[in-house]
Amino acid sequence: MMIEFILIFPLLSCIALIFFKNKTLSSCLLIINAIALLIASVTLCYALNNGIKIPSLVGHYFKVDDLNILFFLVLATVFLAVAIYSSGYVKAVNMHNKKATYYSVGILLFVFSMTGAVLSSNMALSWVFLEATSLTSAYLIYFEKTKQSLEATWKYVFICSIGISLGFVGIILLTASLPSINSLFFKDLYANPSLFNHLWLNIGFVFFLIGIGTKAGLAPVHSWLPDAHSEAPSPVSALLSGVLLNTALLLILRYFHILNIAECASYGKFLLICMGILSIFITCVFVLRVKNYKRMLAYSSIENMGIIAIGVGIGGIGVYASLIHLIFHSLAKSSFFMTSGNILIRFRSKRIDNISEIVRSDSYTAWLWMLCFVAIAGIPPSPLFISEFLIIKALFEAKHYLIILIFVILIAVIIFGIARSVINMSFGKSAKMDELDIVDVVKFSWTMYLPQTILLIILAISGVYLWPFISTMIKNAASLI
Amino acid sequence: MFEIITDIILILILPFLFIGVINKTKAFWGGRKGPSILQSFYDCIRLFKKGQVISNTASFVFCMYPFVVLGTTFFAALLVPFAFSTAIININGGFILFAYVLGLGKFMSLIGALDVGSSFEGMGASREAAFSAMVEPAFFIVMASLAAMTGNFSFGSISSLMTHAGSLGYLMIILAAITFFIIILVEGCRVPVDDPNTHLELTMIHEVMILDNSGADLAMLTYSSALKMVIFASLIANVILPDDLFFTHSLIYYLLIVFVIALLVGTLESAIARLRMSRVLDFIFIMSSIGLTILALVAVSLFS
């Protein structure tokens, strides 16, 4: 009954919220949902690893396996962090009851759709939920009701809808490539790979990759991402780049697995590596001159998705590495976005050069900001270092020497770009220091520091010593790609 | 034992004589009678009798540097073979110690010059520093190649050059002698590098550094700069002389050679004018090229 519960509960709480619009209630319900989700994910994970069957009505359509349990855990963790953060956020930007309620409802629906997309065991069904995510998150991106946010929302919804429709084309071609069976359940798809028609499968994958890749933020179809991330409220950006991108990627991995077991993945791998390099390159181009720090973070999400794509594309140890990268990037990036929320509230500006010496007005935020940068840049003790190391190793073993060179150079440039902005923001002294003293009247509640801190601690620990349990789970997951 | 005593006596006397001879020669070429040979010795005595004037700005550095310079030069002299082809203190890599001990003296004299805060002395110090920077490499190349030739690293080795170096030996000896001679001109601040009896501070090098010294300090400094010249002169002598001479002979030959060198210096000084300050570095750099030539010769004679 676990899965039904976690699918129904958000909807019920939405209805409850609609009825009595109350700020505190909405925050509480968010946190309760998040905790429920976390508990559910942990229990499911436990059950999975110890082979315990949990009875379920919709077990046919929704079930956990080694791959999506990871995504589910990440989803739950990030959601909990965001929920805790939002309770402070709602106060800090002092939303009135109605607005807060809609905010929570939006987030709940968003999370619900992502949960569905992650858990569903049917290709088309998870596609449906993925489409649903872009519709549910549209409202959240338009939350600020400004011109820019409107534009961002338009681009997001429109581009993503087109992309996802292309993805559906990919699904149709997938069915076409398998004449005998008429089902899109993963177990049937993975059952007998020999029957697939390779050309069909590959065309399907091309459509699917480019379509769903739009949602996963892979270049060259990434273009909605910086706008949406920069215009959405910071907790929402955290969810978007922490969970949504992974969810989209999960679908791609599911599809890619078919190619792998049907032994026709060479072109798919090539395409993945191309898109990966392209994404990193795009980030390089813009991270050097971007003026808006939330956009900067968005670009770095693109970069990291690119790295993950490369890892998957290489295969071998690369897949393992990219899964590590995926998990910990979500944690790091979401905390990064939440911290940017603190900065945004305190300084009321998204421009990098308007902000300086955060360390003076709010030292804790400044240090969080710095450490998040360290985590994202893959500087130990960040686990992203492990993954990048392993990816380079995989590239070397696959004899892609040129790619290693490009990879290293681009990453160095990106780190320079981000480092410059982040350090100048937290420590630098700018000409217009005087209005800073006016601004720092906002007092934050502890809930706006706690989640990032916890996430960063998790990162630091697992960067030095990756818990064997996790690493075995990741290994199992990698076997499903 | 006899050698050691002789050497020490030589170290004590020769500098005065050396200066005296140079002055005599200059006087001769200038058609004058000139001061007596021991004039500089009398000067020293006189200076020791006089009192001392010290600048207000001077610190302890200024007071201590003259005797450090004296001490280092004296010790350097002990490291060098004089009349007899082994030095009093004869150790492996002696010439490295020698160079760096002299370096210590130079360091002290430089900061001593900077201590009184006069613009002239700073100028002199900077010139001295720049010139010595050019001298050292040449000295090391020459010594290293001679060591490679003779195959032992003590200072005495240079006098055994004749026996080791075969047909090219004479060439090497001449070149080495020339290098050391130039070093004499630089370290002793003689023409064409510097004119010891100019009266314009702006053109001085060594003289301007000791403008503020008086009394015993001045005596020590003049003595040690003379001693430096003698040291390099005796280096030349040892390069030329073979190491298997009977000691009276070697003593006589040695004195002869030193005398000749003094004559040469004097003659040169009355014959030519000093170089422009900017050309001096080029002049000094000639040594390095000579040193490289010696190195090439050594390589040829070892690998043929």
Binding site: I162 | V53, V61, I111, E121
Partner: protein
């Protein structure tokens, strides 16, 4: 071994504990913890250093890393000991240096925290034998040192220097990653022992890996042309940090190179010559630039580059000794390098601390503004003099001993009857001597202009009294070290030869160390003789002064009565004769305005020295990268249709590509 780890943890705890303390107490608390930790771990490392006792332990760290093994061999022990001891002095100085920053809104808390992390990682690095954790701890060190550098982040140049440093360190670690990735994918494990087995067999691999890792470690050590970060970061950092950085941190780069050589066991002569050429170049380049600097700490930073070059020469001489199976040369080379490393740590810390004291008194690092300080701050001044004498390798101080060893290595190399050695070694000796005299010019300038003569500005005039005794004490300790090591080098020599012989396993180290021992005995006796002679001369003067009176008068001004303090020789003019001769090598910019007209107004003459390589290599590269990427900014044009067009075209392209690949 676990005791050692406990000690390291103590140092780390010191950082954490100092968070809780008040600003005034922080330094003391940290010092306390550091002292305890240092004491504990020093015992272990000393034992392994002196009795060459090999400790070791290993932990199982799960999938990616494999087993983390920590091993003490003489080399590691040497570095660990060095770091602990010198680090302690650095902390001692730092605690008192930072007093002037208390309660002024500086990030003291974070400073001490990162100091703890920095030292613990620095001490841990030499014993780690697992590439993966080596890089992790390495990055810990770089990152924490970055935070230490940007302590005075209120200044723009400090911050930019910090960013520059961070990025450079990342590049260096990228090289390390590549090198270790190559090794680990061939050997199949991250343990150095497995690397050894791989490297011993395959010579070309060894060469390639050596070059790549050298790039990685060389950036850290500051070999030219990877030195750009160094002259920026050192002046930017607070003085105790600059001292520790250039005394210890850049030495870790040297440690890495030595470790690689040890892994390769028998280096090829290409490597040796490669290192030799780079080192000579580094040495000369460093000292050239040092001689032209006005900023004291910048000057010291460049001279660190020079000394790294000298150490590199020693190492490459040792390598050549191994290559040509001449034990004497090998031992002398490595011993010289290690000894010089130790010495440089000592006198460079001393010099940086003195510079720091001067800075804390006058608040300027520009030596053109200083002068006459030796009367105001006699202790600092004379210690600075001592340090500069020993960095010029003047006997009877420690700097001379190490250079003497290297010289002897080169000389003995002449016995190897090989043409290129015969040609190269004398030239290297000449270069070393040249660098030595250049150092003399540089440091007579640094000392003379800063401490001697008359004050050149208000800052220098208004200094009252020397710095506090607890700021002088560490420097005194260092000074004593300098003198003792200079006069009695044979005391520490066995330890160093013990490390050096580790490199030449095929040669009987014992006899060689005995030989070197003898050499140093005679040397130290000579040095005592030198002291004796100088004392004799001193006595002579004393005798004279007893009888004669000394009177004070103003400096001889050549008849010009209206002389003022600004007419003294300044630092730029002191080195100008030299810099003008080598101006092409130094890129000196001159800007002046001559006073003219009937009523001439103030004129000026300014020199500015630029780092040539930075100007002609680094800047262009950065420019090119920037331009290249800025060519693509049209991508994010904001037009929805264009965005869709990208996807559209990419779709068509990739389907076309698919058909192309399928029906080829």
């Amino acid at each position: 071994m676990y005791l050692f780890l406990i000690g390291v943890c103590f140092i780390l705890l010191g950082g954490i504990a100092s968070i809780l303390a008040r600003d005034e107490r922080k330094g003391f608390v940290f010092l306390l913890f550091y002292g305890t930790g240092a004491f504990v771990s020093l015992a272990i490392s000393l034992r392994s250093l002196i009795f060459s006792y090999r400790y070791g332990c290993s932990f199982e760290m799960g999938f990616p890393a494999g087993t983390l093994s920590l091993v003490f061999d003489p080399l590691s022990a040497f570095f660990v000991t060095l770091i602990i001891v010198m680090g302690f002095i650095g902390v001692l100085y730092g605690a008192s240096y930072l007093k002037s920053y208390h309660n002024k809104g500086y990030g003291l808390t974070s400073h001490y925290l990162f100091l703890g992390i920095f030292f613990s990682s620095l001490i841990l690095l030499p014993v780690i034998r697992n590439a993966f954790f080596f890089i992790i701890v390495w990055e810990f060190m770089s990152l924490s040192s970055f935070f230490l550098v940007i302590f005075e982040s209120k200044k723009r140049e400090v911050l930019s220097a910090g960013i520059n440093y961070l990025v450079t360190m990342h590049i260096s670690v990228a090289f390390l990653i590549i090198g270790f990735v190559i090794l680990s994918s061939i050997s199949g494990s991250y343990n150095f022992s497995s690397f050894e087995s791989v490297l011993k067999g395959n010579r070309y691999l060894a060469d390639a890996v050596f070059v790549i890792l050298f790039l990685g470690f060389g950036i850290k050590a500051g070999f030219v042309p990877f030195h750009f970060w160094l002259p920026k970061a050192h002046p930017a950092a607070p003085s105790h940090i600059s001292g520790v950085m250039s005394g210890l941190m850049i030495k870790i780069g040297i440690y890495g190179i030595l470790r690689v050589i040890l892994m390769i066991e028998k280096p090829s002569f290409e490597m040796a010559y490669f290192l030799l050429v780079i080192s000579v170049f580094t040495m000369l380049y460093g000292i050239f630039n040092a001689s032209a600097q006005k900023d004291i700490k910048r000057l010291l930073a460049y001279s660190s580059i020079e000394n790294i070059g000298i150490i590199g020469i020693g190492i490459s001489v040792g390598m050549l000794g191994i290559v040509y199976e001449n034990g004497t040369v090998a031992v002398l080379g490595f011993a010289g390098a290690l000894f010089h490393l130790l010495n440089h740590a000592i006198f460079k810390e001393l010099l940086f601390f003195c510079a720091g004291s001067v800075y804390s008194k006058t608040h300027t690092r520009n030596s053109e503004k200083l002068g006459g300080l030796i009367k105001k701050m006699p202790y600092t001044g004379s210690l600075f003099l001592l340090g500069s004498m020993s960095i010029c390798a003047l006997p009877p101080l420690n700097g001379f001993i190490s250079e003497f060893l290297i010289f002897m290595g080169l000389l003995n190399g002449l016995k190897i009857h090989i043409m290129n050695i015969l040609i190269i070694f004398p030239i290297v000796m000449a270069a070393l001597a040249f660098a030595g005299t250049m150092a003399m010019l540089t440091f007579t300038k640094a000392f003379g202009i800063t401490f001697l003569g008359m004050p050149r500005s208000q800052e220098a005039e208004h200094v009252e009294g020397d710095v506090s005794p607890e700021m002088i004490a560490p420097k005194v300790i260092l000074g004593i070290m300098i003198i003792l090591l200079g006069l009695l080098p044979q005391a520490v020599l066995p330890v160093i030869t013990n490390v050096a012989t580790q490199f030449c396993t095929q040669i009987n180290g014992y006899i060689l160390s005995y030989f070197v021992m003898n050499m140093l005995w005679t040397l130290s006796i000579c040095l005592f003789g030198l002291l004796l002679v100088i004392l004799f001369a001193c006595g002579l003067k004393e005798l004279y002064l007893k009888r004669k009176n000394v009177q004070k008068y103003k400096t001889w001004d050549c008849g010009y009565q209206a002389g003022n303090t600004r007419m003294q020789y300044s630092s730029s003019s002191y080195s100008s004769l030299f810099t003008d001769t080598f101006e092409n090598a130094l890129h000196k910019k001159t800007s002046q305005r001559t006073p003219n007209g009937v009523f001439p107004q103030r004129g000026y003459l300014k020199f500015k020295i630029y780092d040539n390589l930075e100007l002609y290599i680094l800047k262009p590269i950065v420019k090119v990268i920037n331009n290249f990427f800025s060519k693509f900014i049209w991508i994010q044009s904001g037009k929805t249709q264009i965005y869709i067009l990208y996807g559209f075209l990419f779709l068509i392209l990739s389907i076309g590509g698919l058909f192309f690949f399928t029906y080829r």
